[in-house]
Symmetry: D2
Subunit: 141 residues, 4 copies
């Protein structure tokens, strides 16, 4: 039961090749990860995590393979899975599909910070617990 | 019964003042107008209108009043109403609200074109008919 | 001698009609206004105004007429002129041209705020003085 | 002598943490790669490559390490170096720095296509020659 995030791809996202511009795709993956947090934390995404819960998750790495063009012909479904959880870091795997076709897949690494001082720090205990409940460890690739 | 388009406002949309960056707002109004077309034309937005139906609706004017900041605290509901329909033009009123509070209101004017030649032209007859069925004429302001 | 801001229009900005997507244009006008401030205030744009000088300029209104498509064939030159200065507000006229052709023209109204409390307030005296030196009052349209 | 692309980072790019939003960074790397092509091909970027020269360079992979936050305090200088050239592919290394500090580094892989049929194809011979003249092969990492 992974979290799935739906994106409406539109004209606004497409370039003259009539497919979504490449630069849109990492942004959608990020939107999907934010959606994962909203889903996990009772509606709280990055904004509430930083401002209300005083922890942040800045990105230290992203890696994406683009498999098929994304178009406005279908909604884009982004599956988000936390695959590794360290003391002060988390790794997500995000897979984007349209009409069943694999469009992109990527890995995204965040570190946890105490937001008000922008310093690395373990996440709040209740957050760690909730992540552990949905973690799907995967063999390193 | 106006068309309402829901936007997930997130961290990604906010500037250091902790509210949505102004430049995001016209883009959301445009997304909402595209959503209006999808709703009116059985799922066909600007992309399908241009590529499958060979008509376009380039913008010739936009005017927006910003009434209250937009934040990630609520979904942003954009109400889209076609308020004037000329032979080769259409005017939309778009009103954005969050939790019942008016955030912005604007007027957007498009001309209809034959897409493959990028030339002004009346919209297809079936499209005109569908617009007329939802038109809510308003006194000029 | 108005401030002119140059924009590199690229593939990334274009939609399947092979012209810049409408939603990019208000963003460029905003970039140009930010550039005007950088030019006026020794390199300080909105970011430094808010964080270092403790005043902000949120938008209350924008109005744009789109005259010709914007394309990557030329740089886009945005001329920015402050045309009205009130006690707590400022109005800019922004005109975008490519290769001498008028592409868009618009009017943008900001209010001045004290940034840390997000409350309307007159701008710092030295800022007012610098604006007055470049103000080009225009008859209301 | 690598190509360097300058980005004006502004308020518009920053999130409530007062640093550039992560999703902006891959877009800047892409802008820089487009700038590399403009520099190599007498002003022709992706737009002119596709429309005038009938070849495209869709992305198949990107990988970015984020080393330090990007802010509006300095211009962002993106160094772009083609590091591998295959029969129908090219790999770029892009390194972003601000005031001498390393902000991010990444690798981007494109395939060459014949644009009008969107099919993999070697690049035009004159383009290959120009790339070879600036290629800086690097050991695989």
């Amino acid at each position: 039961m992974s979290y799935e995030h739906e994106i409406r791809v539109t004209w606004a996202d497409c370039d003259p090749a009539r497919i979504a511009y490449t630069g849109r795709i990492p942004n959608w993956a990020l939107d999907a990860i934010n959606g994962f947090w909203e889903d996990l934390l009772d509606g709280d995404g990055w904004y509430q995590m930083e401002l209300d819960r005083n922890f942040g998750t800045p990105f230290v790495h992203m890696s994406i393979d683009f498999r098929s063009p994304v178009t406005p012909r279908h909604r884009l479904i982004c599956e988000v899975v936390p695959v590794r959880l360290g003391t002060t870091s988390i790794t997500f795997r995000v897979v984007g599909r349209q009409g069943g076709t694999l469009c992109f897949e990527g890995e995204f690494v965040n570190v946890f910070t105490q937001a008000d001082v922008f310093r690395k720090a373990p996440p709040p205990a209740d957050v760690r617990e909730k992540i552990e409940a949905v973690l799907q460890p995967q063999p390193a690739q």
